[in-house]
């Protein structure tokens, strides 16, 4: 407890805002909601994003897409690794935020470590997934034919309630291949997502590649699932009862949909989350002189 006599310094609190297009705005709606710790004590007023914030986030993600997807895979890998370095530097802050969600000190430390390692794992995929998911196809005729995986575009991610490891496990695979993301953070535990945003903002990631919204998932997710300029949705963090409705909305422009699969975040992920947001592009060319 702070000493009311003033002999101990009063902490300067952080205002938790949204992360859109590389900037940290408050919700245009002016709303916020109370984030509590595991013992239901007040921790912060997080921004409660509106549909208009979601719209702005999609615009920012779309604007960032050509540049980000046009980077070389090596460069994306470098930038993501840089993000991991910054994550490591914020380790203590993440541990503290995780402890507020009810984890013990050692659990929180383990999760923070695992999150950094997971990010590093995905960062390394940047210049490898094409070789694994692509192919040269032996067609019957005088043609060279190859298939390459390409990012699908703007991906809306409903992040799970695993506030850090789950979060990085859904964000990293989306952007490493060149997609841009609009992330709806865990509703009860959004703070690590905003801290992650601060990490992203201070690494070399271009603005708009990742956009983070905090607020009510049930309010935001339908707008994103409906949005005609979103190419895919990851419903991992959506409430099971909301999934059918969100999938139906996603059908409006035939978004790629990743359904929740309930897999444990600690398990090695495999490439499924990468390939879920990749398009296979096949190019033909004649062979002749």
């Amino acid at each position: 407890m702070p000493d009311k006599t003033g002999s101990e310094r009063l902490a300067v609190r952080k205002t938790y805002k949204l992360f859109i297009g590389g900037a940290f705005p408050r919700s245009e709606s002016g709303r916020s909601y109370v984030v509590t710790d595991a013992k239901d004590r007040f921790v912060a007023n997080a921004s409660r994003a509106s549909r208009k914030d979601a719209r702005d986030a999609v615009s920012a993600a779309r604007k960032a897409f050509p540049g980000w997807s046009g980077r070389t895979a090596y460069n994306r890998g470098q930038i993501l690794y840089r993000v991991a370095e910054m994550l490591e530097g914020r380790r203590d802050q993440f541990v503290a935020e995780l402890r507020q969600t009810g984890l013990s000190k050692s659990q929180a430390a383990a999760e923070a470590d695992a999150a950094v390692d997971r990010w590093v794992w995905y960062a390394g995929w940047a210049d490898k997934i094409t070789a694994v998911a692509g192919s040269a196809n032996p067609v019957s005729g005088p043609f060279f034919n190859f298939s390459t995986p390409e990012p699908t575009g703007v991906v809306a991610v409903v992040a799970p309630d695993s506030p850090l490891l789950g979060l990085v496990s859904v964000v990293a695979p989306v952007i490493v291949s060149g997609n841009t993301a609009v992330v709806v953070a865990s509703e009860p535990a959004p703070l690590p997502a905003i801290t992650l945003a601060e990490v992203l903002a201070t690494s070399d990631l271009p603005g708009g590649v990742v956009n983070v919204l905090t607020g009510h998932r049930a309010e935001l997710a339908p707008w994103l699932a409906d949005h005609m300029d979103v190419n895919a949705v990851d419903l991992t963090g959506a409430a099971p009862g909301d999934v059918p409705d969100l999938e139906e909305r996603a059908a409006g422009n035939l978004k790629r949909v990743l359904r929740p699969d309930g897999a444990a975040w600690t398990a090695e992920p495999g490439t499924a989350r990468l390939t879920a947001f990749l398009e296979t592009k096949t190019v033909w060319h004649p062979v002749g002189v």
């Binding site: 196809n137 409705d245 035939l254 495999g270 398009e279 096949t282 190019v283 060319h285």
Partner: protein, 480 residues
């Protein structure tokens, strides 16, 4: 040698005697032809509007029967069967398709209206090749990159269109069976006959009953199939609008979904293109199969500096297209598949004229009976015209021009679709630069409308998701 018609080609009809069309057809369920309980429908020859046969219509109960047969076959026979044995069945089917290829080609042309040259030289060889290709995968799935022990999904409900009836059947059935699934397939109501002949091929191959079931009918039958609780997978090829409906039906279920939908492909011709081959590619891109091709190159984007010369060559080439009897071996453009499709093509073409585009067709006589539409090109088309945005699915080309490569790519991508695209330039770096930027699943550079079982096919955006063909085509039929 003064005669005007010194080298008019005399009719060269392919013989119809290789096919034996029965008066009526039933459903193929559990290895038997059975009656349907819906109202039977007629399938007609679109080239002369004669009735070919009465075809049974599957109602909900019939679909249920077929799904149950497929489930039984999956549980008891096909699922447990070693991959190498499944492979041999598929090889058998491939061989029988080859043995009966002329019969299948003629029947396809009669029921669909496509030229025999195409059904004979394109559709049927690709059908056989597709079964051969996926046969080889059946016992190698663990090497396909989808985990050490990938499993089949179960029963696949598959709905296919009328533009390549048998080829789309092959694209659906071959990978499904190779992966160990069983199928219930619904062919399009205007082109059911080759699917029913395929049922006979399954019997000749002694494929276990229930592994392949064919239910005929229209939209209602398709709805009953994709909505059925007993299926684990839905695969659909057809219009984006129906694809959207299916995605809504499948929402919230465990069913895996792959969709192959519409397109409005840009065929981009740069000023340094090999012009004569580009003209061939444009013609092949939009007049192949009467333009009833989801990946048709229906938007020609030509660089302004060569637009005049290219269009002159294109029109001269179009004048040599031979339109008429699909069974004539010299026919290049056959009949429109149905009255409904013809009406749609007319409606959109009329809209093109109303919106101010210039319409041109070569002089050609169209038969009095049947559904026909002359190869048509619209120039002075703007991006905002309906004929530049909507899929016409007919022999109608919209020509737009561009000035810079950036503008070409921007215009090409300015569509909700993203199935295919074409690039014509002699400059290698320009091909790769353009291909990288095109948001389309298949990019043909200096060629167009090429297909191969080893080559993945499928779209971006509203052209659907999932890929058919190649290693990638297995993914839609395996659980990771």
């Amino acid at each position: 040698m003064a005669s005007e018609n010194i080298f008019e080609y005399a009719p060269a009809p392919e013989s119809r005697s290789v096919v034996d069309i029965r008066g009526s057809y039933g459903l193929f369920v559990d290895g038997e032809f059975t009656d349907g309980h819906g109202e039977p429908f007629k399938t007609i020859n679109p080239a002369d509007e004669t009735v070919l046969a009465d075809v049974a219509c599957a109602d909900e109960a019939d679909v249920d029967r077929a799904v149950k047969a497929a489930r039984r076959a999956f549980d008891e026979v096909w699922g447990p069967m070693p991959g190498r044995e499944r492979a041999k069945y598929l090889y058998r089917i491939a061989r029988i398709v080859q043995e009966r290829s002329r019969e299948l080609a003629v029947l396809e042309s009669i029921d669909n209206g496509k030229p025999i040259r195409e059904s004979r030289d394109v559709d049927l060889p690709l059908v056989a090749a597709h079964f051969f290709y996926y046969a080889g995968w059946a016992d190698k799935l663990r090497h396909a990159g989808f985990g050490d022990d990938p499993k089949p999904l179960g029963v696949a409900g598959q709905v296919i269109p009328w533009n390549f009836p048998l080829l789309m059947l092959a694209w659906k059935i071959a990978p499904a069976l190779a992966c160990g699934n069983t199928v219930v397939l619904k062919p399009a109501e205007t082109t059911p006959l080759t699917a029913l002949l395929f049922a006979d091929i399954c019997r000749q191959a002694e494929l276990p009953p229930g592994v392949v079931n064919i239910v005929t009918g229209a939209g209602e039958t398709g709805r009953a199939l994709v909505a059925h609780d007993g299926i684990d997978k839905v695969a659909f090829t057809g219009s984006t609008e129906v694809g959207r409906q299916i995605a809504r039906v499948v929402a919230g279920t465990r069913k895996k979904l792959t969709l192959e939908l519409g397109g409005k492909a840009a065929n981009i011709v740069f000023d340094d293109a090999a012009l004569d081959q580009a003209v061939e590619g444009i013609v092949n891109g939009i007049f192949f199969n009467q333009g009833h091709v989801c990946c048709a190159g229906s938007r020609l984007l030509v660089q302004e500096s060569v637009a005049g010369e290219l269009l002159e060559r294109l029109k001269a080439r179009m004048a040599t297209l031979r339109i008429g009897d699909p069974l004539d071996k010299n026919t290049d453009v056959g009949a429109i598949n149905s009255a409904a499709q013809l009406a749609k093509i007319r409606e959109l073409s009329d809209a093109g004229e109303r919106e101010g585009a210039a319409r041109w067709s070569p002089p050609c006589e169209l038969p009095a009976q049947g559904f026909w539409f002359a190869p048509t090109v619209f120039t002075d088309v703007a991006q905002s015209h309906r004929i530049a945005r909507e899929e016409i699915f007919g022999p109608v080309l919209s020509v737009l021009t561009f000035r810079t490569p950036e503008e070409a790519v921007t215009k090409a991508n300015n569509t909700p679709y993203g199935l295919s695209a074409g690039i014509w330039t002699e400059k290698g770096s320009q091909i790769l630069w353009t291909a990288q930027r095109l948001r389309a699943g298949v990019v043909w550079a200096n060629t167009f409308n090429k297909f191969d079982p080893a080559s993945p096919f499928g779209g971006y955006k509203e052209s659907g998701f999932g890929r058919e063909g190649g290693r990638h085509g297995l993914e839609g039929y395996l659980s990771a």
